[in-house]
Amino acid sequence: MTGLNPTNEQRSSGAAASALAIELVGINKHFGPVHANKDIHLAVKRGTVHGIVGENGAGKSTLMSILYGFYTADSGTIRVDGVPQNITDSRHALALGIGMVHQHFMLVDNFTVLENVVLGAEDSALLTPTLNRARDHLKQLARDYGLDINPDAIVGNLSVGQQQRVEILKALYRGAETLILDEPTGVLTPAEADHLFRILGKLRAEGKTIILITHKLREIMAITDEVSVMRQGEMVRTLKTADTNPEELAELMVGRRVLLRVEKGPAKPGDVLLEVENLVVTDDFGVPRVKSVSFQVRAGEIVGIAGVAGNGQSELLESIAGMRDQKSGTIRVNGNPLSLEGDDGAGRARLAGLAHVPEDRLRMGLVTNFAAWENAILGYQDKYGDGPGLDIAKARTTAEDYMKKFDVRPASLDLKTANFSGGNQQKLVLAREMERDPDVLIVGQPTRGVDIGAIEFIHNQIIKMRDAGKAILLVSVELDEIRSLSDRILVIFDGQIVGEADPATADETELGLRMTGSHADNVVTEPGTLPEHETPVQQTLVEMSPKDNSARDTN
């Protein structure tokens, strides 16, 4: 139905006149009482990478969804290649050569890569010929852009990085000339992010236009030509990237100065509070994911676990938190071994003095249908009230307290958690787990999808806890985050701890190599793990962001 080729001609006819690929004029969008986009003007030049930054909830995703035809604007005009277009649905946007990689992927988990790619762009009623043609096309795209992926893999089994590649392939397969990426690196490892930016560079070189939404200013600085800043539904300013710097952008976004680095003093490690011995954990299918891991975390230190996603971190975290049956091995909190049989181990782990900020707040850390106050006591519900009754007044006081301390916005106790922005949801989870004053805190991806104002705050809170003498285990795919927060780094690969590093001295290249299965002789060829030759590029990007380097050098 959607031919890929006819639209190309359609496009080029109107294109000649305008240097602007996309022009948005006076866009307004309401969601009920929320005015998500207020009279937005935006011009994107053809063949450039245009960045959009803004706090959580600023309206970035909404704006792009309007351009992509997923939402319809209440008012305003969209010009594509200079021609006003009334984009009523995504099919229309696709036909105009606009592709979008959504913040939350729009993939069908139990489909293969190939099926996901052709979905909606099949060229005949029968599937087999379509799939065969698509397979060839994908090979071509893979060659052109380095987008390697096994077309027959089930998408649900892929790492996020690979899933994102599928999303990009979807757009390219449909012949996108303008590609919108909404927070593409939020869930990527630095190496994966690098790979992505190389691809974007290639696309730009071919004359394609890219709109990039991100919270990471170093990415903006590294790859964009121009950058627009949004705040509270309004377009604040559009700047040439060359003429600005992260500090200025941060200030434009948040409306105040933001400290872009982590301030922390030296660690003073005390007693061992968390001890893991020969831990073996299997996944839901009985495949071992954590293979005999042992380590300790002492009071007053942050131990970071660095690794490419999918190497057992998640299972490790969940197992320590009591959410998975361990196959063998011991976990001790405060010297007491945790018994984790049954499916309520998480409760016992908490009783032992452990708090857990899960990697995936929506899937695990929150009941999104619950009001804010209800989520503020999730996991601690038994502490509210002496008998069977739930002491709601006490719970609400607690929640109010958390929301004030962690600046959760809006500070509305009764608002459904689903209606908070991601960053605010994250703050709520953090408040709940950290304010409990646990002895051991295990944290997964603390700043995923969170804007820079909130990141600063969250990092400071984690450090404060360390300084209060807590043992903290940190898992993050953000190598920067690991390096700037941790006192020690453990590198995990294929379910095993393959090394330890001192963040002050650790060499980025060295860490990266270890994360991918160590030195040259051990290159992993499985799709999704990065080939070895990519590591130097990763370093390039890191060097391109001087602020982050200086942050690391502070201590």
Partner: protein, 362 residues
Amino acid sequence: MTPLPRWADVVLLPLLNVVLAFLVGGLIVLAVGQNPLQAVGIMLYGAFGYGSGFGYTLYYTTDFVFAGLAVSLAYHAGLFNIGPEGQAYVAGLGVILIGLALNGMHWALVFPLMIVCGALFGAAWAFIPGYLQAKRGSHVVITTILFNFIAVSMMGYIISRILKPEGVNSDESAPLEAITRVPQLRSFIELFKNSPVNLTFFLAIAALFFVYWLIWRTKFGYAVRALGNNPVAANYAGISNQKMIMIVMAMAGAFAAMVAVNNVGGVQGRLILNFVNGAGFVGIAVAFMGKGHPIGVGLSALLFGMLYQGGQELAFQMPGITREMIVTIQALVILFTGAMGDMLRGPLSRLFAQPEPAAGGK
């Protein structure tokens, strides 16, 4: 879409929906050449207009409240219990066994024991699907459907081959003595003369309050709702999902069991074949229409009680209207108030919308 004011959401919208259902039902009545206004009049009169009619309405309401709660409670935990029909049927066995064992004793002693004993049987019958869901992953929807069928066979055998006394023609157990039966309200309140509403009605009211408290005011309820909304998060919160599933299903069965107390203990005073008579299935509609909230369940149970009793009156007074007509009207009520409940929300909210502050742009 602008949200509606709360009163409009809670009162106006459902009311309009009921009216709409009756309008369409009225058209059908009209189509068979009867006067719909007269029909509605008779229906309302039959359901509320005189003591014994009102008593019947409350009697049906009692059944529907319990069946509705059995579905709602499970639904809060994310379980779709289609089995109240069978659960109530099996619970009848518990009620009659204790009743017969203590036959002749005063109801004040027997009634509480009937509640307990019936609840145990109902709970046991619902527990098995719960167990299979929790431990074996067998879909509770299928197992409860199957258990309804199995209950019919099993109870048929037990009633006709074991409980049926000598010299009785129909398939039923021996009767309970009058003093042992749950007393009907007519023995205290003249108004209800001749109607079967009995003390179980107050149990139903109490159950509504209890469920409200349980679901929204207790730790247990918190856990139930957490499980129903996000099982992974519930697990994260230290809740044992498996245990919860089994407990909740058993509790649901216990609620369904009260239908047996109402009928076996209160109305028939004996265990007869098929005494549940579809109340369990009506419970599904009641629960969903009431959105699982006890107030909603109470109101929609009353609505159905009214339809059942008023419908009976209608069939009696207007020979052109048969019981199938009434089932049709019930269907329309379920459709318009339940499934299409939000049909009028759009127009209504436009009606309520304040003039927007100037939106800016062009």
